[in-house]
Every structure is written in C-alpha cells, then in structure tokens.
Symmetry: C2
Subunit: 156 residues, 2 copies
C-alpha cells in the first residue's frame, strides 16, 4: 500500500506533467458531431469561410483531452490518486490557439495556491495553473482547476 | 436573409434558454471511458466507495452536454448564429451537484456584461452567466462564458 500524497505534502510550485497525445481528424469530427456541431468544427470547407481557416477542434474537446491525459498520468501514480477528491470547478479557462487534426498535445499543472477548508477539516483546496501545449510548444489552452485534496488523518 | 443580432443589439439581462436533454447511463460510461476513466465515472460499484455514492457523469461530460444543447438552440436562431464569433474562454466554472444517468438537463444563459473591443472594433465581448439545471430544478453547473460577437458594420 502506497502512502498517499496528502494535502500537507503539497507545496506551491509543485508541478506535474502529462501527455503527449495526438488528436486525429476523425476524433475532432466525431466529438464535434456529437457535442459541438458548428460547421467550422466539422469540415475544412466550412472552416475556410471563418477566422479558423481550416478544421479545428471544439474547445470542449480540448478540455476533454486535457482530462484524458491528466487521468492517465494520475493512474500511473497511485499515491496521488488515493488522496484526490476531484475538482469543484475551474477558473480562467482560455482557448488561446486552435487545436488542429494531427496536433500532439501535452500539459503541465503547477500548484499556485493552497487553502485549508474551515468547514471541512478532512480536505484542503489546491489551485493549479494548467497549460496545454501543441507540438510547436505553443500554449493552446490555460486554466486554473480547483481541486479538493484529502488532509492527513489525525493520529489517534 | 435574416438580419444578424449584432453586439449593439444585445443588452445586459437578455436571456437565452436551451435544452432539455436526457443523459443515459451508456453515454455517461462511454464519455468517461474515453476521456475521464476514474472508477466512480465508470460503475455504480466503484462510485459506492466514494462521496458520489452512485455513478455520476464526468464534469467535462456536463460541459459538453451544455454545448450540445446550446448549439442546437443557436442553430434554430440563424440571426444569432450569423454574428457569433465563438468563445475565448470561460470563468468561474463550478460543478455543484453530480449529474446522474437518466437526469434531464436544461439551461439558461443571461448576459451580465458587455464590452467593446478597443483593439478590434469589428467585435465586442459578451459575458453570460450560464446555469444548468436538472429535472428537479437543482443547479448542477454554473459558468461565465466569454463570447466574441460581431459589431454592426459601419454604413458606407
């Protein structure tokens, strides 16, 4: 049994890298067809008539791909997974550049704020700044997830 | 040809309703299996061991379902669709309650802030407060998308 990484073990500045993951044209179109069927997410022809110029992924597809990379990495680190209580939300989500079919994404998450919970001593709040990059090391998306994290149990 | 709803036609307090949409167990599991394979998003058995209690949708599935409802409603209103330039991001995304298989979601978007763009006179920035409700009229998610909107072309 791995000792969990508790809230008290986390420091501002800690970072966590995840990815890479390459997104295909079929995946971009399939996600958009189901969840965001705006024409510029469905074909190059429609995108050429907009400021996108060519097919780009739905911004919500990019957030889902962030989660896919992040969870895969967490599941390689059982010590982190054991103490994570999920996220209550996200601040400052920004789509900075289009994500294109064939792009290879990766990300980094850095702790920027830690706060104990007054009402719930069994958990703390961890804010991270997440940046997702493409294969040219351009930032395509940034956000600040607000995660809940288990505190170290009191010694009995 | 419908006259577009330009930035100048939008007022703080304007609201826009969308949905409903019912999410199935198969959809919850399929989304999670692809993008957020944490055990509590994959089976009731695993969820029973967590604070979720039973199967709940990935928060990113809920954002994707928001977009699905929102785009469907936009596509019924060509006047709005013509002047929308997409979103640059989202502030204050909060997952307030679990979304469960069989839940029927709906949403409302209300304009809370309007700002002309100094650098790009052809567009304005529209902030909306979005609330997603379940069939019990409980808010399950809130957020503030930041949309770009075409301004009325100058008369030549």
């Amino acid at each position: 049994m791995v000792e969990p990484v508790y809230f008290e073990d986390i420091a501002v500045g800690d970072s966590f890298a995840f990815g890479p993951l390459t997104v295909t044209r079929d995946e971009v179109i399939a996600f958009a067809a189901e969840f965001d069927p705006q024409p510029f997410h469905l074909s190059d022809e429609a995108a050429a008539a907009t400021h996108f110029g060519s097919l780009s992924a739905s911004g919500w597809h990019t957030t889902a791909l962030f989660m896919k990379m992040f969870v895969a990495e967490m599941q390689r680190e059982p010590a982190r997974q054991a103490a994570s209580l999920g996220a209550m939300g996200v601040d400052e989500l920004r789509w900075l550049r289009p994500v294109r079919p064939g792009d290879t994404l990766r990300g980094i998450s850095e702790v920027i704020d830690l706060k104990a919970s007054r009402s719930r001593p069994e958990m703390g709040i961890v804010k991270n700044r997440v940046t997702i990059f493409n294969q040219k090391d351009e930032a395509v998306m940034t956000m600040v997830p607000i995660a809940m994290w288990r505190t170290r149990p009191a010694q009995g």
